[in-house]
């Protein structure tokens, strides 16, 4: 907990020299990065470059071996801490404030859209059924799916499912939202509706970390773009700088490959 009190409130997420290994393979190399309140950070890079691993660390779905990660003033336990049975409490505290949207939506297929959204507020935040369902209805309206509350996820299109997933995360009133390739599993014509919801979140001032391959979207919404390669942050800066005059050769090569077609 090496956080100066004045840092809390402006810095939401702070990585300091974080390293992670899968056996001999190093997934994260000395990652140092901080995200401030209301900032939208977009991570780009080839697959396997560690960007998904990085944002999955923020809510503890991935653990790391060394370095420190502080999320909203709570120190994320390392692998060692968890092995000795510590850190569970900090982990739960962090997860309460951090929402996540996955590439494969991961909606609960045996529960209706309404139940998907209302379950966690009831079970984790202890809200009453009426309150949780009212909130869920409001969120569904916001993502344009009011009429689908009683359907099962399997009856919805991919774009609709992803919007439900966003609503489900928002129901926990998170301070930080993580998006792990939210549009990669969608048919091209459904991408827009999901990006629209994310744009709206940005205007409301949500702190977001987004992994995406939608470069045009990244340029449009990002306050800061981070290019990663081989588990390390190669270059970061405002979108205009990264996309128009990148400093690193690796960034340039990557962008020329993804922007060509």
């Amino acid at each position: 907990m090496m956080v100066a009190s004045n840092d809390f409130g402006t810095t939401k997420v702070a990585f300091d020299k974080v390293n992670k290994f899968y056996g001999p393979f190093q997934a994260l190399r000395d990652v140092t990065l901080s995200v401030t309140t209301g900032e939208v950070v977009v991570l780009i890079g080839a697959s396997g470059s560690g960007k998904s691993t990085l944002i999955r660390c923020v809510n503890g779905l991935e653990t790391f071996h060394s370095g420190s990660l502080v999320v909203e003033g709570f120190s994320m336990p390392t692998i060692k801490d968890l092995e000795f049975g510590g850190g569970e409490k900090a982990l739960r505290q962090i997860r309460r404030g951090v929402g996540m949207v996955f590439q494969q939506f991961n909606l609960f297929p045996h529960k209706t859209v309404m139940e998907n959204i209302a379950l966690a507020p009831m079970r984790v935040r202890g809200k009453s059924r009426e309150e949780a369902q009212a909130t869920a209805m409001r969120l569904l309206e916001r993502v344009g799916l009011r009429d689908h509350a009683q359907k099962y996820p399997g009856m919805l299109s991919g774009g609709q499912q992803q919007r439900v997933a966003i609503a489900r995360s928002l129901a926990m009133e998170p301070h930080v939202m993580l998006f792990d390739e939210p549009t990669s599993a969608l048919d091209p014509e459904l991408v827009g509706e999901v990006l629209d919801v994310m744009r709206e979140l940005r205007t409301e001032g949500m702190t977001m970390m987004i992994v995406t391959h939608e470069m045009a979207f990244a340029r449009e919404v990002a306050d800061r773009v981070i290019y990663m390669d081989k588990g390390a942050i190669v270059e970061e800066g405002p979108p205009a700088q990264i996309f128009d005059k990148p400093i690193s050769d690796r960034t340039r090569t990557f962008l020329s490959r993804v922007l060509k077609h």
Binding site: R95, F102, Q104, N106, P109, H110, A120, V124, S169
Partner: protein, 325 residues
């Protein structure tokens, strides 16, 4: 019209070419002959009076005659229980009614004494009690076996593997003998001990089915639940287990059928189940001529109950799928 359809069907399916035609003629002739012989025996030669006279022994064994109403009440309760889980309404309500109705059925049947249960009554009650008790036990062992705690995991794995590598009769017999050794001051009836032994045995099989279901739930489901801050308990009971049970539901109902058919083996501890009742009837010299009738009757009863269970399983599966699509 119908004849024309039949004709073209036969043409396409039975007599499409020379080999098909020869096979069809041979098989239809053989089946027809067998059926004729069989039906002639069933209708004219068989002495069904014997079954009718022994019906009581077949159905309830030594259950006191003036208490027969209890068996009828139990039957009604069991039908309610089965109906509750077959109807496509709230699963929770269905399970609750099942538990209450089955519990009530046991309660109604107990007063004359567990030792008096016999015949089909015993076979069915044994199946109901063992299947119902095995499920929660099996779920616990399945979670235990996939637990992160090594000692718990080792215990559960050991239990499951030991039970699965020994025969049912051995476990039932062993529990029957050892329970009185550990608790000499209380007398527990043979049937209760048999139920315990059978449950202990069957729970290991249920655990393996459930575990395969737990593994079938995609990792993303747990991750999504964890990212919403849910506790391990909520994740297990609300997210993972319901999906796992859906996957293995056909296997679990198949297991009920296995329990019903395996229930014949409890004769080893002196219980008179349906099959044993039939054998006892044949011991009577007066009935020894009716072996075929007795066995055919038992065959038919087992077949009807077995196929009813399979049919019920398919219905449950169908409306379970409807609710997730």
């Amino acid at each position: 019209m119908i004849i024309a359809t039949l004709h073209s069907w036969a043409r396409r399916n039975l007599f499409a070419n020379l080999i098909d035609s020869i096979l069809s003629i041979l098989i239809v002739t053989a089946l027809g002959w067998l059926l004729t012989v069989f039906l002639r025996w069933v209708i004219w030669d068989a002495y069904w009076q014997r079954i009718y006279e022994s019906l009581r022994l077949f159905l309830v064994g030594q259950f006191p005659e003036d208490q027969t109403w209890r068996a009828w009440v139990a039957l009604a309760l069991l039908c309610t229980a089965v109906g509750a889980v077959l109807l496509p309404w709230s699963r929770r309500l269905g399970v609750a009614i099942w538990l209450i109705a089955c519990g009530a059925a046991v309660f109604v049947l107990v007063p004359p004494g567990l030792d008096r249960w016999g015949g089909l009554l015993l076979s069915i009650m044994l199946t109901v009690v063992v299947s119902t008790a095995s499920l929660p036990l099996g779920i616990l062992f399945a979670f235990g076996r996939s637990s992160r705690n090594p000692s718990l995991r080792a215990c559960c794995t050991g239990y499951i593997e030991v039970m699965r590598s020994v025969p049912l009769i051995l476990v039932v017999y062993w529990i029957w003998i050892t329970v009185p050794l550990f608790m000499p001051e209380v007398s527990i009836s043979s049937l209760a001990r048999g139920m315990i032994g059978y449950t202990v045995f069957n729970a290991a099989y249920v655990a393996e089915y459930v575990r395969s279901g737990l593994q079938a739930v995609p990792r993303g489901q747990r991750e999504a639940a964890r990212s919403l801050g849910m506790s391990n308990w909520t994740i297990s009971t609300e997210i993972v287990l319901p999906q796992a049970l859906r996957v293995v539901q056909p296997a679990l109902v198949g297991n009920v059928l296995d329990v019903f058919n395996g229930a014949t083996l409890v004769f080893i501890i002196g219980l008179m189940d349906f099959l044993r009742a039939g054998q006892l009837i044949l011991v009577d010299p007066a009935a020894s001529g009716q072996t075929n009738e007795v066995y055919l009757f038992m065959f038919a009863v087992y077949f009807v109950i077995g196929s009813a269970i399979t049919f019920g399983s398919r219905r449950m599966e169908a409306h379970m799928h409807r609710s997730t699509r």
